[in-house]
Amino acid sequence: MTMRVWKFSDNVDTDAIIPGRYLIHNDPCVLARHAFEGTRSEFAGQVREGHVIVAGRNFGCGSSREHAPLALTGAGIRIIIARSFARIFYRNAVNVGILPLVCGQADEIPEGAEITVNIEGGYIETGEKRYPIEPVPGFMQNIISAGGLVAYARDLEEVETCTGSQR
């Protein structure tokens, strides 16, 4: 399946993804209406299910607000490709069902490109070119396979901590 690219630069922060005044909302669809409001205002109206965000370094920096990846899920984004991600955003994205993929050459992919993602093969492809993506860390893979952290945790009665079992 090919996906249309929304291209962003370095250091896209969570205030840009969803401004603070909308954090009183928790519904992904409501949040999606305000995604990138003021910084990329055409996004909310034109993004479609299956579109993909491609960005530079440090995507999702700033606040821990999970409203940011939630707004993007509400907008239909399932995959974000970036040269690097801010740590909290990366985990939040996985937890809410977005696959964050690290691609060192993300800068080369242009706005509006049509790409395909081959996760097993470890690459993304535009018409003529392949770009390698880094494997998702092992412990995150378990959460993704379960369908997000909520699904992963729902079936657990207790967890094995480094000090022994808890709950």
């Binding site: 250091n11 922060d13 205030d15 840009a16 401004p19 603070g20 005044r21 909308y22 954090l23 009183i24 909302h25 928790n26 409001e37 003021g38 910084t39 370094r57 440090n58 920096c61 700033g62 606040s63 821990s64 607000r65 999970e66 409203h67 990846p69 939630l70 690097s84 801010a86 740590r87 909290i88 985990r91 939040n92 937890n95 809410v96 860390p137 092992g138 412990f139 997000g148 952290l149 909520v150 945790a153 729902r154 657990l156 207790e158 967890v159 094995e160 901590t161 480094c162 000090t163 808890q166 709950r167």
Partner: protein, 416 residues
């Protein structure tokens, strides 16, 4: 091979040597939720099949972002959390105490060697008390509420050694802005920043909080100062703890080491729209400003307000500037009130608001219109952070904020 402060904390909490790079499911000693991220965390807790939180005494709840409630939706969110606190037996500080991070510190809820998570990115501030503290999202927090534990990849550390005494009207905020400039907005991603050196050994808890608070602005998972007599003196009367030695081993392994000498440090300002764009104040002096905000978890403590008042002296704030001053907590407010600072600020033309996040959260009040410029002692100057995406926010110390508020333009506090 020796251990860093972070490795010592994880090793101690796990009961075996733990090294940077390992992924551990570690027990959590405290979990903080507030009015913005709390409702989602609680919903996630229920969706995960949670019925009773892991330990109500270890859950810290309060409201600080939109207080008192500024909309019906905010009121509903807070009511939802109040009910949850009541059902679960969680102590809820509600809207009474102030900004979450300041309250955690001053109530003695963060003590050396602990692992604490908060559903807020500036949770890293508790590193000032020798805690491994990090910000997490609401789904991770739902998991923590259920199990009292979370997956952590134990981070590598950057060691930052600072020497020298601050010159007049230069302080921790200028230092951390200059460190953020050098490390960059993502220079410490997935890593911890461990502060040390004689400057930190002399620095009060307030300055340590300012520095650890801003570790996240470099992408860091945590900022931390090894606990010492200053840490334990601060905790005295707040919570009884027996001292632990978390000093890093001399042969600890760091991903990077940086040295600073503050003897000749000049006041710094981070220019729009990134925190790592710090320049000396003199480079941007003279820029007209519309609003000055002195407050936030970064710089809203009594010492910050006293620093601003010292610069203000008997002057008045410029009529061209809206000056908003918000003490970080009720305790800090009372200290400022009793020492006459509040009266001085109000007389000089400032609005003094009750403890909360204020303009820093960009949603409650004190928002900027298009084209407006704000100077702020808070921690982020992202586009749109304090209102319009066409506004500009500059970050600085309380001294620089006060000096600039007198003249209505960015001003070097040493020249007042």
């Amino acid at each position: 091979m020796g251990a860093t402060v972070v490795e010592k904390i994880f090793s101690s909490r796990c009961g075996r040597p733990v090294r940077a790079g390992e992924v551990v499911m570690a027990p959590v000693d405290g979990a903080m939720i507030h009015d913005i991220t709390g409702p989602l965390a609680i919903r996630n807790f229920f969706q995960m099949g949670g019925t009773k939180v892991f330990n109500p005494r270890k859950v810290i709840m309060l409201f600080d972002h939109q207080v008192p409630a500024d909309s019906i939706t905010a009121a509903e969110n807070q009511a939802f959390m109040r009910t949850f606190a009541g059902d679960q037996g969680i102590h809820n500080y509600d809207i009474r105490e102030g900004i979450c991070h300041q309250v955690v510190m001053e109530k003695g809820l963060a003590t050396p060697g602990e692992i604490i998570v908060g559903a807020d990115s500036h949770t890293c501030m508790y590193g000032a008390a020798g805690v491994f503290a990090t910000g997490i999202g609401s789904t991770d927090m739902g998991f923590v509420l259920k199990f009292g534990a979370l997956y952590f990849r134990v981070p590598e550390s950057i060691r930052v050694d600072v020497t020298g005494r601050f010159p007049r009207r230069v302080g921790p905020k200028d230092l951390i802005l200059s460190i953020a400039h050098d490390i960059g907005a993502d220079g410490a991603t997935y890593q911890a920043i461990e502060f040390g050196g004689d400057t930190f050994e002399r620095m009060g808890m307030e300055g340590r909080m300012t520095c650890c608070n801003m570790a996240i602005e470099m992408g860091a998972k945590a900022g931390i100062v090894p606990p010492d007599r200053i840490t334990y003196a601060y905790l005295e009367g707040r919570r009884a703890v027996s001292p632990v030695d978390l000093s890093p081993d001399p042969d600890a392994r760091y991903v990077d080491r940086r040295m600073y000498d503050v003897t000749d440090l000049a006041p710094q300002v981070a220019v729009p729209h990134n925190v790592d764009l710090a320049v000396p104040v003199k480079d941007v002096a003279g820029i007209r400003i519309d609003q000055v905000f002195i407050g936030s978890c970064t710089n809203g403590r009594f010492e910050d307000l006293a620093e601003a008042a010292e610069v203000l002296s008997d002057n008045r704030f410029s009529d061209a500037v809206r000056v908003i001053i918000i003490p970080a907590s009720r305790d800090e407010y009372l200290k400022a009130l009793r020492s006459g600072l509040i009266e001085r600020f109000v007389s000089a033309g400032a609005l003094v608001e009750a403890p909360c996040c204020g303009p820093c959260m960009g949603g409650a009040f004190g928002l900027l219109g298009p084209g407006e410029i704000s100077l702020s002692t808070s921690n982020r100057n992202f586009r749109g952070r304090q209102g319009s995406t066409e506004a500009k926010v500059y970050l600085c110390s309380p001294a620089t904020a006060a000096a600039s508020a007198i003249y209505g333009e960015i001003t070097d506090p040493r020249e007042v």
